[in-house]
Each structure stands twice: as C-alpha cells, then as structure tokens.
C-alpha cells in the first residue's frame, strides 16, 4: 500500500469534512491517480471471469468501487439525541459485545405492515426476523423483509438531494418548495402521489395538508398490489372491505387464482393458519380438501389436492357456472374445457357438503366483478361471516388507485399540475408505459420525488430527495387487519435520507421536522393517560394492542356482473415479480439471485407459457418472442412452465429497469410496456417468434419426476386414503425395503443430537428460508454468468419437482440443505480433515483447514456443498458497505474453500452458552435455525433428537418420516415428511399419483 492509497489517511482527510461535503470529496477522490491504482490493487483480476456479455451485471466492479468508501464509513452512527429507541428483549445499557439486540418494527409489503424483529450488532442491523406477537407475521417473514438489510446498506442508494443533475441541500430544497407552494393559491395545482397509505401518522399529515390546501389532490399508485381486492368487496357489499379468512375452520378451500399464502394481504398469517389446517402427521388427521384453479403455478396452489391450470378468463367462467349451480345470479357460461365434468361435480359436492365450512378465496388480481361474485357465493354457502370475515380497510385511500394515476396523468398533460410530490413511488417505471406518465411528468414545473434510489422518476422530476429506509426512521404502519405498529429506526440515516413524514411536514411548511416528533405527536393524541407507558409498550412489543380494525357484517347487495366473452386468443397476465416485486427491490443482489419459484430462473424475467402453448407457438426455452397487445409490444424470452394455464402467458413486472442501479438496471424486459393504460392485470396478446435467442439461467434444469426420477424415490407422496390403509408403515413412504447394515459400530452421541424434519406437505416453496439462510450465514451472490455455469452459493435451496401430465402436473417442493449424515460420505474423502463430525452430530466444515480438493462435493449424494470458485465473498458482499449486513457470528469464506449448511451452528453455540451459564440443558425450541424462523408454514422443525419430548423427535416418529437416499446408508439427521394429498375419492383414479 506504500505507493497507492492508504485507507487510514483517506479516513483522516475525510473525517475533516462532514455531511454532503464528505460525499462530494469522495467523488473528487475517485478521480485521483492514487485512487485508481488503489482500486486496481483492491480489485482483484478475479473480477475478470465474472464479466462477459452482461456488463451491467458486472456489479462486482461497482462493489469494488464502493470498497474504497467502505473503509471510510463509520459503521453505525448513534440514534439522534433525545430519540429513545427501545430494545425488544434487553435494555440497551446491557449491551454485551457479541450479543445482538432485537428491536421490534414493521415492514410494508403490498402496502400493509408485517411485524419484524431486527437483530442489531453494536447498532448495526444485520438480520430481520418475524415478530411472533404481530398478527400479520406470527414470527414469519417474506423474502423482501429478509433481504431488506442489504438494501439498507446498498452503496447505490441515492445519497443527496438532487436537482437538475447536481447535488443540493435539504435547505435549498425546502426553500424552493415553499416558493413553489406560495404560487399555488390554496393548493390548486398541488398534487400528492403516494402508495397505499397505512401509516396513521402519514394519513393525518395528508389530511391536514389537504385542509391547508383545499384545492390540492391526493393520488395513489402501487404496482406491487392489486386494488381490485377492495373494489371487489365494494361491488359486493357497497363499501370497500378487507376480507379476513379463517382457515382453521374450513373443510373445503377453493383458491381462484389466489396466492393467499404468498402474495395477499395477510399472507404470512394465512400461510401459518392454512398449513396448520393442512398438516398430516398421523393417519387419522383430516387435512380437509383444497382445490386450486390458477393461471400460473403459485406456491399456494402447489400444495393443493387438486390443481387445475385455468386462464384468468376461464376462471371467471368457472365462477359464473359455479355461482349459477349454487343459485347465485350470474351470467350464462359454459364450463371451461380445462375443468373436467367429474372434477366440477366433485367440487360442487364438496362445497355443498362443507356448507359454511367451505371457503372460496378470490385472487386479488381477478377483476373486481368476478371477486364480487366469489363473495356472493361464499355468502350463499354460509361461509361469509364464518370462514371469511370482513374488516374495515387498514389503508386510507382517496379514490381507487389505478384510476387515480390516470387522472393525475391527465391533469399533468392538461398543465393543471404545478407542484407534484411523489412519496416512495416510481411511476415513471412502474406505471403502464401506455399511460405516458413520464412525458406528462416532464410538463410539471415543480415536482419532487422521494425515493430510496435516484430512479427513473427521479431522473425526470425537478427535485429528488433520498428516502430513509424503514430501518432508518420512525414511522408507523397498519397490518392488513388494521393492527398498528410503531416502526423504530435501528440506525440513523445511513445515506442522509428523509422520511415520508418529513417531506409531508416540509410541504406543510415545517422546515426541520423529525419523524420521531411527528409519530409521537400523532399517537399522543390517540391515547389518553400514561402516554410514556403506552409508547414504551408499543415500541417495545411492535404491536399496539386493540388497534385492529373493527369487523364489519356486510350484506351482499345486487351488482352487475359483465364477464368478457370466452375467447380462444392468448391472454397475457401481469404479476409482480416473486422476488423483486414491482421492481422496487431490483437492485438487491440477494433477491435477483434468488431462484424464482417453479422456474428457478435467476436474474431475469421471462414469458411463461405452458408446454402445450409452446408447442402451438413452436417456441422453446430462450426463444425470443414479440408480445403484442393492441399497439403495445415488447420482446421477451420464452420459458416453458409445466402447470401454466394453456393459452395464458404470464409476465412478471420489475425488470427492464433503466435506473435501478448496476445490479438491477437493464436486465430482463419491461412488462409495463405491454400493460394496458388502465393498469388491468390481463390483456389479450399475440405472440410472434423473432428467431432470436436469449440466455435464461435456471438453477435447476431437471424437474420432471417421470421415468428415472420416479425410480429414485426422491419424493414420496401418497393420499390420505392410502395412509389410512397402512397407518403404521405406508408403502408410499417406504417403496423399497432398506436393511441397515454396518461394517463398523455406530458412533454414540450422548450430549445433544441435532436433527431436523421438513414437512413437504406444507412447504409452499416460497423462498423465505433461502434468503433467511443467505442473510444469516453471509452467503455471497455470484452473478448470472456464474449461476449459468452452476456455481450458485445458496446453502439452502428448494428443489422443485413435478410429476404426471406435463401440462397439468403435481408439484413438489423439497428444501435441500446439508443433511448432516451421521455416516457422512463427504468426511472420509477429505484429505485434510476439513469436514468432520462434532460430538453433537453436526457435520462441520472447517473453512481455514480446507484446501479445496472438492472431493467432498463429488461424494455428497445431495450436492448441498457450495464452493468458492472465485473470491466471491470479497467480490459480492464484504469489504464494502454491504459487508455491514454481514453476520459477525459467521465466518466469511475465502476463495478456494468449500462451504455448506451448518445447521446455524452459531445459534446452537449461543444457546449452549446460555444454557451452560444457567447450568441446564438447552430447552426444546431454544435453538431456531434461520430457515426455520423465517418459514411462514412452519414446515421446518429443528431440535435435539436425544430429547424424546422435543417436537423434532416426535415428528421423526411419524410414519411419514423418511430419509432421502436411505439406501446409501448415510443416516441423514435431516429427514422429510412424505407428501400426503387428500384428493376427492371419485378423482383418485383420474389423478394417479406420481408414486
């Protein structure tokens, strides 16, 4: 480092300055000669092989660039003076180095809050867990929450107020703002654009702003959720209501394109409840029956008893026919051909049989009218008020969102908008291109964009203000059921962002507001009496008791239903991307590399078509086609997805970003270009082959269990009936007799014996565990090109298989992690003893002893070992701000060493220390692995097999428990519970199980 740059003295030079000057000087710095040589020295040529055709994805360069900044950034600046944040379990004064603190907060998903507990190491948030006390979480999280810490530290977040391309200060902005506002007489021309507002404080601020400026108008837009849900209830009951389902009470559940465990307000709660209802451990347990009609495979549908691929249009028809048969007034329709007569009859029989224990769940992306029809059917069945109740919506909405954006665009085009404030939205990208929001926005003389990134909207808006990440600021939010949570900052604004509250205050004329005061003042008005006590409790527990919305008892009113005429032409249906949503998480490497459910695609979106449709179109994976709807068209690569509804093309939003950052920009295609201006979720489309090819990268090329796959007995599945025939020893669980015989005596584990059971019956393949593992264990990302050659690093992957008819297959998810075999094949072949067993039966990996022969991986029948072919750790998430998201309890692996799942040994160690200090054994449930904690359906159970009362030990006794590849005699500590379906008896012959 002699001739090149010395971190220490840069830090000195920079500490001399502060605030924005600090960042500016870094930019200057970035041009100096020494800086470049420093970069050269720090960027390893290692980066070279990761380059290639996908330059933009060569984000490693960028991370390297921020590597220079990394050394300079003080980790966590203390929370501003006078603002007291309250730890979840321990008092801050009890901080013990190495002991993380947990703070309750909440993160919005699809506009509604989901409670989280955030792990903080010395003031540095590193991991997000679910808040067990929060009704919308119950301890689970979704993928976005798990990955949010990475976004928090993302060096590409916008870091300064920007106006026409140059950095400004907040003061300059508020001056400009007030002068702009001064010109509007009581707010005519002032427009406000937000997402769904579930923050009571924000709602009141907006309310007051609108009082202050009576002429001002408030618009909403959120591409990551569908407002049709509330529209549907408004149609059916006359007022917008939030449906709340009670699965515990159901006998028959029918999903109508509803991914209610994964993409639905209240999804995590539903996932838990539904899984508990569906669980089968003993022969006498009754899982009820679950039919899923869906246009594209969803995690929810994949655990159904009967899954019928059905295009959105036909789902409408089906509901109409169903309604008619159940005596609900509905338009004349034919039963869609994809729904066989016997199946329909069975469905009908089940529904009528179940009566008020039946439940039809309308998909939130279905047209409002169809959803209304579903509510009517539920009502007729008596389900309404029983298995489904209705709550006052938690959000405060001015007018239906999609329309509202259209009105705003109109107004802008008409020149009626002089001041526009956009809070945490990116309509220039996420609105349908046909709407022409961007061009309209360019006409607005004063527009301000508040966003985490300086994105497409920031580029056009006259002002951009960096937004504070939810872990950086005080706020509050309501869950889908109205339960309010006060979100507390775990770290003061890392890149100098501002909260929504602060911007609104600025609009209202308050120059230097703080979110803390704004939130406190709101709640102090809500509670009478001991506010401090209330505040402490609220912040501490992450839940404000009794804040849930009141239950409404609506009655179905007459409404018009107009279904589109059944047509044979192709339909395209739009969905937020399963990992990066509507694009808001596009710059999050973890989410980009997270294999999408079913397709296992990474770093891309694709046009999903069924095998039959692909045949008709003469296309195959990777063929580029032109999708055309009216005058709108976009080029997209094809991915053939078994189980996709015939004649339906599903495309995901969130890709084709222009200004997402080095990771998220320019990958995939922008489905918004195809979307109708009115924001409809489906559209008729024509598909044309361009002859071009595009390289799509999937982490799992082989899914089909037919043929050799079946012979391998990887997935064991049967039916409840079969199970009842052989309650002790079901043949489908043990298709081949396996006699254990050993050359050597068994090793005795007398202290603890850690083991895991994964229930394939309730695993929906939602991916939460995968990101949780990545976050907990500092698993690096490697980029598309490395994934393409089979070098992804996920310690925990979800194997996805399908069996039976390729167009209408059964789906199975099998979370695959190190099985911790007692007779591990990987261990005897390691020449240096880098992977050995500990006395608690963990198959441990000694990174610093590993020389990297990779023999262990060859000999691992489960192929769960991951290898650092290059310096991934350095290239992807260490030695940069991103390294702050790393878990200090887990070693960061260097190039050339093998790594794999450790059963979260760091958590076991922590529990052991606690237990030993209190001189007791570790209690059951005291050690919870990251994947287990995140799992919304509690499919993963972990514990001590030597403790016969432990949940895991009891599950191991279930007749459904089986070892994968038992014939190899590896004695895995991780076992699976076979899938048990409960098909309608009359349909069993028709749906011969795969096994």
């Amino acid at each position: 480092m002699s001739d090149s740059l010395n971190i220490a003295d840069i830090r000195k030079r920079l500490n001399a300055q502060n605030g924005k000057a600090y960042w500016r000087s870094l930019d200057e710095l970035a041009d100096t000669e020494e800086f470049r040589s420093f970069l050269e020295q720090e960027f390893p040529r290692q980066a070279a092989p990761l380059e290639g055709s996908f330059q933009r994805r060569d984000f490693l360069k960028l991370l390297g660039a921020s590597l220079a900044l990394a050394g300079l950034t003080a980790c966590a600046r203390p929370v501003p003076a006078g603002e007291k944040i309250v730890p979840y379990v321990r008092q801050p004064e009890q901080i013990i180095p190495g002991r993380p603190l947990f703070f309750a907060s909440a993160m919005n998903h699809g506009g509604y809050g989901e409670g989280v507990l955030v792990e903080s190491h010395q003031g540095r948030p590193t991991k997000v867990e679910g808040n067990p006390d929060h009704p919308a979480s119950l301890g689970a999280t979704g993928v976005a929450a798990q990955a949010s810490v990475l976004t928090l530290y993302d060096p590409e977040r916008s870091q300064a107020v920007i106006s026409d391309g140059s950095d400004r200060t907040w003061e300059e902005f508020s001056e400009a703002l007030s002068s702009a506002l001064a010109e509007t007489d009581n707010g005519s021309g002032l427009r406000l654009l937000t997402e769904n507002v579930t923050s009571p404080t924000l709602a009141r601020q907006i309310e007051r702003l609108l009082e202050q400026y009576p002429e001002a108008v408030w618009h909403q837009y959120d591409a990551s959720r569908s407002d049709q849900l509330l529209e549907g209830t408004r149609l059916a009951f006359g007022e917008p209501l939030m449906p709340a389902f009670d699965f515990a009470n159901t006998g028959v559940v029918v999903s109508l394109d509803a991914d209610f465990t994964n993409d639905y307000p209240g999804r995590l709660r539903y996932a838990r409840a539904f899984a508990d209802r569906r669980r089968v451990h003993e022969a006498d347990s009754d899982p009820g029956r679950f039919y899923a009609f869906e246009s594209s495979p969803t995690p929810t549908g994949s655990i159904s008893d009967h899954r019928i691929p059905l295009g959105p249009g036909q789902i409408g028809d089906l509901i109409a026919v169903l309604a008619a048969r159940l005596g609900v007034e509905a338009p004349e329709r034919e039963l869609p051909s994809a729904v066989s007569e016997p199946l329909f009859e069975a469905l009908l029989e089940d529904l009528q049989g179940a009566g008020d224990r039946a439940l039809l769940v309308p998909g939130q992306y279905l047209p409002a009218q169809v959803q209304a029809l579903v509510h009517a059917i539920n009502d007729t069945l008596g389900a309404g008020g029983n298995t489904v109740r209705f709550l006052q919506p938690a959000g405060t909405a001015p007018t239906p969102g999609g329309q509202s954006l259209a009105q705003l665009t109109e107004a802008m085009n008409a020149g009626n908008v002089s001041v526009l404030a956009m809070l945490g939205v990116n309509p220039v990208y996420s609105a349908p291109v046909a709407l022409g929001f961007g061009e309209a926005l360019a006409r607005v003389p004063f527009s301000v964009h508040l966003g985490i990134y300086a994105d497409e909207t920031a580029e056009i808006a006259t002002w951009h203000v960096p937004e504070a990440h939810f872990l950086e600021t005080w706020s509050d939010t309501r869950a889908f059921d109205g339960t309010a949570t006060i979100t507390q900052p775990l770290i003061s604004t890392f890149y100098g962002g501002r909260s929504h509250h602060e911007l609104l205050a600025a609009l209202a004329g308050d120059a230097e507001p703080t979110s803390y005061e704004l939130v406190r003042s709101y709640w102090s008005d809500q509670v009478e009496g001991a506010f401090e006590e209330f505040w402490r409790q609220a912040v501490y527990g992450g839940v404000i008791a009794g804040s849930a919305s009141p239950v409404a008892t609506p009655t179905v009113q007459a409404f018009e239903v107009e279904l589109p005429e059944p047509s044979q032409e192709l339909t395209v249906s739009f969905r937020p991307d399963p990992t990066i949503g509507d694009g808001r998480w596009a710059n999050n490497g973890w989410l980009q590399e997270l294999p999408k459910p079913f397709t296992k695609l990474t770093w891309d979106n694709a046009a999903l078509v069924s095998p039959a449709t692909a045949e008709e179109l003469g296309v195959n994976n990777g063929d580029v086609v032109t999708l055309t709807a009216d005058d709108r068209s976009v080029e997209a690569p094809i991915w053939v997805l078994p189980g996709q509804a015939r004649g339906t093309v599903t495309v995901h939003l969130g890709y084709g970003r222009g200004r997402a950052g080095r990771i998220g920009s320019g990958i995939g295609f922008d489905a918004n270009a195809l979307r109708p201006a009115d924001g409809a979720w489906t559209a008729p489309v024509s598909v044309e082959k361009t002859g071009g090819r595009y390289k799509l990268v999937s982490t799992q090329p082989h899914h089909n269990l037919n043929g050799t796959g079946e012979e391998r007995h990887i997935i064991r599945a049967g039916t409840v009936a079969e199970f009842r025939d052989e309650p002790e020893h079901p043949h489908f669980v043990h298709p081949v007799a396996h006699h254990e015989s050993n050359l050597y005596p068994d090793y005795v584990y007398d202290s603890y014996a850690w083991g895991m059971v994964i229930d394939m019956n309730v695993c929906t393949g939602c991916n939460a565990c995968v990101v949780a593992c990545q976050s907990e264990n500092n698993v690096p990302i490697v980029g598309k090109d490395q994934v393409a050659v089979g070098r992804e690093m996920h310690w925990l992957r979800i194997d996805n298989y399908h069996a039976g008819d390729i167009d209408d297959p059964e789906y199975f998810h099998q979370p695959m992690l190190c099985q911790h075999c007692e007779q591990a094949p990987c261990e005897p072949v390691c020449p240096v003893g880098a992977t050995v067993h500990d006395n608690e039966g963990l198959n441990t990996m000694v990174y610093n002893r590993c020389v990297g022969t990779r023999y262990c991986s060859n000999n691992c029948p489960y192929k769960v070992r991951r290898y650092n072919f290059l310096q991934y750790a350095e290239l992807s998430n260490t030695a940069t701000e991103l390294s702050l998201a790393s878990n200090p309890d887990v070693t960061v692996r260097s190039r050339g060493v093998m790594e794999k799942c450790s059963f979260c040994v760091q958590r076991i160690a922590k529990a052991r220390i606690d237990a030993e200090t209190e001189d007791r054994r570790i209690a059951d449930g005291e050690v919870v692995t990251a994947c287990q904690a995140a799992c919304p359906t509690r499919a993963i159970v972990f514990g001590d097999l030597n403790d016969s009362s432990a949940a895991v030990s009891r599950l191991k006794l279930s007749p459904l428990n089986y070892q994968l590849l038992a014939e190899l005699n590896t004695k895995p500590r991780n076992t699976y519970l076979a899938r048990v379906k409960n098909p309608h008896p009359q349909l069993v012959s028709e749906e011969a199980g795969a096994h």
Binding site: Y744, C821, Q823, P825
Partner: protein, 187 residues
C-alpha cells in the same frame, strides 16, 4: 621374519597391485578362475558390464542385500501403520463420517506405500554405501588404458595387500594368463 619378506614389503609400499588387461569376457573368466585357484584372495576384476559368474570365479561371497531389504520393508510397514494409528487413535481422534478411530482397512494403502518407499531407498543407498560410493579417487584408475574398462576391455587386479602377493611371482603368474598387458599400479 625373513629378510626377503621385509625387502618385498619395503618395495611394495606405494604399490596398489598388478593389473592384467584382457580383450574379452571369456578370457577374464578363465583368468579369474585361475587366480582364485592360485590362492589369491585380494583380487578384483573390472569389466564394462556385469560378466555372469565372474564373482564366483573370483570366489566372492553373495551379497546380503536381500535380507537388508526385508528388514527395512518390515520396519517401514510398521512405521506406516503406526503413524496412522497414532494420529487417529492417540494424538488427535476425530469422528470422520462415523468411522471408528482405528478403521484399519483405510490404512492399508499408505502402509504399503511406506513399506515400498523405505525398502527401495534402503536397498539403493546400502548398495552405494557398501560399494564405497561416492568415491572421488580410486588407485585402479591409474591403470594404463583403464578408460576402456567402461568400453570393451577387461581388467584383473591382484592387490599388493594380498598375503600371497609377490611382485615378481605374481607378475609371472599373471603373464601366464596371456593378457594383452600387465601393469604395476601405484596407490
């Protein structure tokens, strides 16, 4: 002690021996036989290649290298196995894939290889040592035309140390064997 002997003794000081040069392996075999029959014991022959049977003819005892190798090999084998046993059972026992610490079948290969290594090197090095190699100087090289001992000439040497050695008598004896020449070789 007789004067003659004392005189011979003084004359022989500085003399290594008498060397007879032959043209073929056949001739030297005959000569060797005669020499040992004549009772000379401190003799040696120098030939371009190992002439079959020449060592018997010169009355040399067979070498014991074979036994040395057997010992070395056995020792090596024990060493090899002991190392593995000690490392796995005594010094640093580890649970490797549930195998017992002394899973001897896994130790066979290395035991064998160490056996081979030790025995091979013992043989090679002992052979050199017993031949006194490496050796920068040897009086025999003073023999005229000796460079052809590595080409196509065969030399028979009776060393002066031999009790029966008598300059004149031995020279006469050698000349009777019809060599191409007989030469006195200095130490």
């Amino acid at each position: 002690m007789s004067d003659a002997v004392m005189e011979a003794d003084t004359r022989n000081r500085g003399l290594y021996g008498l060397v007879a040069e032959f043209d073929s392996a056949e001739e030297i075999l005959v000569a060797a036989e005669a020499t040992s029959q004549a009772g000379y014991s401190r003799t040696d022959a120098y030939t371009p290649f190992a002439v079959e049977g020449l060592d018997d003819k010169l009355g040399m005892k067979p070498t014991r290298l074979g036994w040395i190798m057997l010992l070395a090999g056995t020792a090596g084998g024990f060493l090899g196995f002991f190392m593995q046993w000690y490392a796995n059972v005594v010094h640093y026992p580890l649970n490797i894939g549930g195998r017992p610490f002394n899973s001897w079948p896994n130790f066979v290969v290395i035991t064998f290889e160490v056996t081979v290594l030790v025995s091979a090197f013992t043989v090679g090095l002992v052979m050199l040592a017993r031949n006194g190699l490496p050796r920068p100087y040897h009086p025999i090289f003073n023999t005229p035309n000796f460079e052809n001992a590595t080409r196509d000439k065969f030399f028979l040497c009776i060393e002066a140390r031999d009790e029966k050695f008598d300059l004149t008598a031995t020279r006469r004896f050698l000349e009777e064997l019809a060599p191409t020449r007989v030469s006195m070789v200095e130490r």
